[in-house]
Subunit: 188 residues, 2 copies
Amino acid sequence: MLELAVLGILHDGPLHGYEVRKELSTKLGAIRAAFSYGSLYPVLRRMRELGWIAEEEPDPAQTAPPLTTRRGKVVYRITAEGKEHFSTLITKAGPDCYDDEAFGVHFAFFGRTDPLVRLRILEGRRRRVEEKREGLRETLHRTGQRLDSYTLELQRHGLEAADREVRWLNELIANEQSLDLSSIHDRE
Amino acid sequence: MLELAVLGILHDGPLHGYEVRKELSTKLGAIRAAFSYGSLYPVLRRMRELGWIAEEEPDPAQTAPPLTTRRGKVVYRITAEGKEHFSTLITKAGPDCYDDEAFGVHFAFFGRTDPLVRLRILEGRRRRVEEKREGLRETLHRTGQRLDSYTLELQRHGLEAADREVRWLNELIANEQSLDLSSIHDRE
DNA sequence: ACGTCGATGTATCGAGCCGATACATCGGGT
DNA sequence: ACCCGATGTATCGGCTCGATACATCGACGT
């Protein structure tokens, strides 16, 4: 997950660790709290070892005096292999990417995703949320008596949130389909 | 987190591992997927070692009828120490319990929570969500141009969800306060 | 000129949790 | 007679978090 996010964010240009975290925070702020450094730095190291990212060569004009510099900034850029790997990850889109978080990350990078894959992910996500919605509805009807009022209120709130997300996804799907149609029309 | 949830669910009566998971799934279904067994069983073992839960003695009279006969199952019940620990956990309610998940779990056990603690948690949560909402609003205004349309749509959706949750919390808080007032009135 | 304070910056460690996996029994349908 | 899905206990590798440590920098007041 973090791997995908880092590759996606480095697609827009080289950054160092601190900046990667900031950019991801604003890009993914709607769906999750910032990734912690305890996750980020090990992942950056591992990705460098695998060759998906590389340390940016510092401009020689800028590297004058390392007087007291013990630990300088490390700027990473995405490599060709990294771009390929990113493309693979974003196209695979297995059933695990319909989870709240994974879906959000994939959605945030829809700008770099194939239109057909976008549609597949949106429909898969919709299915997932519909299942959750039905599960909650079922629980409310079946065990409504057994649960205390606060738990019930939680279920109601969750049910409404699921319902809203399904409607949101419906709009997005309709929009994608009309985009596909117009692109077909353009080709004619 | 799991610890708190298990203690809370065992408060209603002895259960074995599989049942604990099922009960938690229905009780917390609105806020998260089920806890995995990979988390549950180690936690059960640890809690038994700490004395918060204990293995239930099978009632010999109950073992005869086919309906209650169950093979090698391990049934756990909450102990006095366990109840005390649960009470401590649920009353502490530090800043970490305003996170999405932790808040949901605490809320699900509001039926066993002191009214003043309930109010504190609801207000803390509201504050947290308000901050998230303002952060998103800020991002939309400040960096609106820089982000692609999908990322923007994600932010809009997140912003609306945060807004709805704040309104939901406002209602809950108002309700709690009126409950407190009427209980004061009752005492007079 | 001096301190200090918040933002920037890199990094590690323990602990919690998940998903996959293994193994075993039970009740019901074919 | 046989299989299959639900029930049931348990472990393992891997990802992520929160806490912590350490270091630099510019801005601010005094």
